[in-house]
Symmetry: C2
Subunit: 333 residues, 2 copies
């Protein structure tokens, strides 16, 4: 079986050159990237789905998606909805990808809100943070669903049996947190998941649990704090080393090690984030993605197809969430 | 004038030895630390206010403060309320300090909620994050008040004229954020403060603005993400360097520079956080504070007294917040 991944050739700061190069790099046995872009695009031999318009990063997402059904971003998502591709990847606007996915792929039965799942390449091994930004405002029952989605992701994509789930909060004791976290904690303790309780952002990069559950606002703040701190700390170290001969010599010697640490720990280098809870597979890549990041995002999408993440999610949510008396899954459909 | 700072000798993981040593180190011209602890404590020549009981880190704050009015933590706060000291410092439970302060010092007129102000030793110079954890749930008008408090703090303690204020959110555009951030943004744009708009946690350690405003849940998550990332990144770098001869040599050469960067950027090394919005000055030190951290916290408290932070806050809040039609300052008094 060959997995076909639709790649938005016009999304991201470095489109189309780096996107096309990344898609080409990912192409291989069992994986066929399909580019979505203008007819004149040099697709390097890959199949091309024609789409002329682009959606800019700063366009209001819902309006842009409705106004530009023929844009490369929307067309890539529609390719999944219409069976032309098995998954879609874009480095374009996250909001537009979310809007296009809700409109054209729709939610899985019982799913209240899709969530963005990001892999944190933590020191003790990869873990997943969900929601990393799809829902700025959330309710406890959304976090419960994110926990189930994150657990399926950890099992299928990270290969963890019986993943441990933690709730991001501001203290490890059950009674620490805001109203949202307290409510989610109550649901999670009764969920049947392997719930470890509250975890603090202090341990995010260390990797105390396999799945870290939070709302999209907090998750986005935590993730960007992590990315920014890595960048600022390494930049500061570099500047400090340049100020002395001893430092310059030391800097030269540690360069490969520092590079390895940065590449291993920075979530940005992971390529992309899954949008979970939909009737199709969507991966959102960083806006600044290079060809390497795009190739990784395409492979990440293909892995999700091979592991049937969507089907597994549907089964899991039907079993555990629809059965739960604490949620009212029909309320927002 | 001599500033008297009451220091809780029984608060923190390393009490009383490191606390007493820190207080002694801070003592000097114009600064008199006053220890609060058991009668048998060797105060090294400092004045001692007797207090036998201690409040443990994991005791429920409000209950502990009510049940132990004679504890060292409560007694230190009461020393300020009763005029025996000009400020109080404790490395004990943050929640208990907050509860004791609300009970014995009370809020400044018009203040809805006190906020914790932490100095972020950012690369472009120090900035202040408020609220770093006093209020897990907050409303837009609380964030407006935190912005005013943070501005006074930046002026008086950081020495910034007309500080720039940013609202922590998940995108720089005004329409990005959760309901709380959107509401706070509206109030801040009309506040008369030098409001820069939304800022992302990515730039927190870089230092894009002088005052970063947020609720206590988000602020605490961001701050701990920053602290944890610094620790994990440097630990990982150290482990990576140890694995080769080249790395070990490089590691030896960069050690002083790495140490300087860590000390400069890690918020933990700053000594303490202010609890603002009260009729007295309170500084909360890290639970793990060493003598150096305690000495810094005592000096930080003295600086607040010298700069009349409480009076300046009262004037500012009376002028700008009580006058604002968007808040109802009497509602929670």
């Amino acid at each position: 079986m060959t997995v076909r991944v639709a790649v938005d050739a016009l999304g991201g700061d470095r489109a189309p050159a780096e996107i096309v190069a990344g898609a080409l790099a990912a192409a291989g046995e069992g994986l066929e990237p399909v580019l979505v872009g203008p007819p004149e695009l040099d697709a390097g031999g890959l199949r091309l789905i024609e789409a002329d318009q682009a959606i800019a990063m700063d366009e209001p997402p819902v309006e842009a998606v409705r106004a530009k059904p023929g844009s490369s971003l929307v067309r890539a998502v529609r390719a999944v909805a219409e069976g032309e591709a098995d998954a879609a990847v874009s480095a374009g606007s996250t909001g537009a990808m979310l809007a296009a996915s809700l409109l054209h792929l729709r939610r899985l039965p019982g799913v209240l809100r899709p969530g963005i799942a990001v892999v944190i390449p933590a020191r003790r091994g990869p873990s997943v943070l969900i929601d990393a930004g799809a829902n700025a405002d959330a309710r406890p029952e959304h976090l419960l669903q994110f926990a189930h989605m994150g657990a399926v992701f950890a099992e299928e994509i990270l290969g963890v049996a019986e993943p441990e789930v933690g709730l991001l909060s501001i203290g490890e004791e059950d009674e620490k947190g805001n109203q949202l976290a307290l409510g989610a904690g109550t649901l999670l303790r009764a969920s049947g998941l392997r719930f470890r309780g509250n975890v603090e952002s202090r341990g995010l990069l260390e990797g105390e649990v396999d799945v870290v559950v939070t709302d999209g606002f907090t998750g986005n703040v935590a993730l960007k704090a992590l990315e920014g701190t890595i960048r600022t700390l390494l930049d500061s170290l570099r500047a400090e080393l340049r100020s002395s001969l001893r430092g310059r010599l030391g800097g030269l010697l540690i360069r490969p090690a520092a590079q390895r640490v940065r590449e291993r720990l920075d979530p940005e280098t992971y390529g992309g984030a899954y949008l979970l809870g939909l009737r199709g597979l969507v991966v959102i890549a960083h806006g600044s993605s290079s060809r390497v990041a795009i190739a990784n995002a395409v492979r990440l999408a293909a892995r999700g197809v091979e592991h049937q993440v969507v089907t597994r999610l549907e089964e899991r949510l039907a079993r555990s969430v629809l059965a739960s008396p604490t949620t009212s899954p029909t309320a927002e459909r």
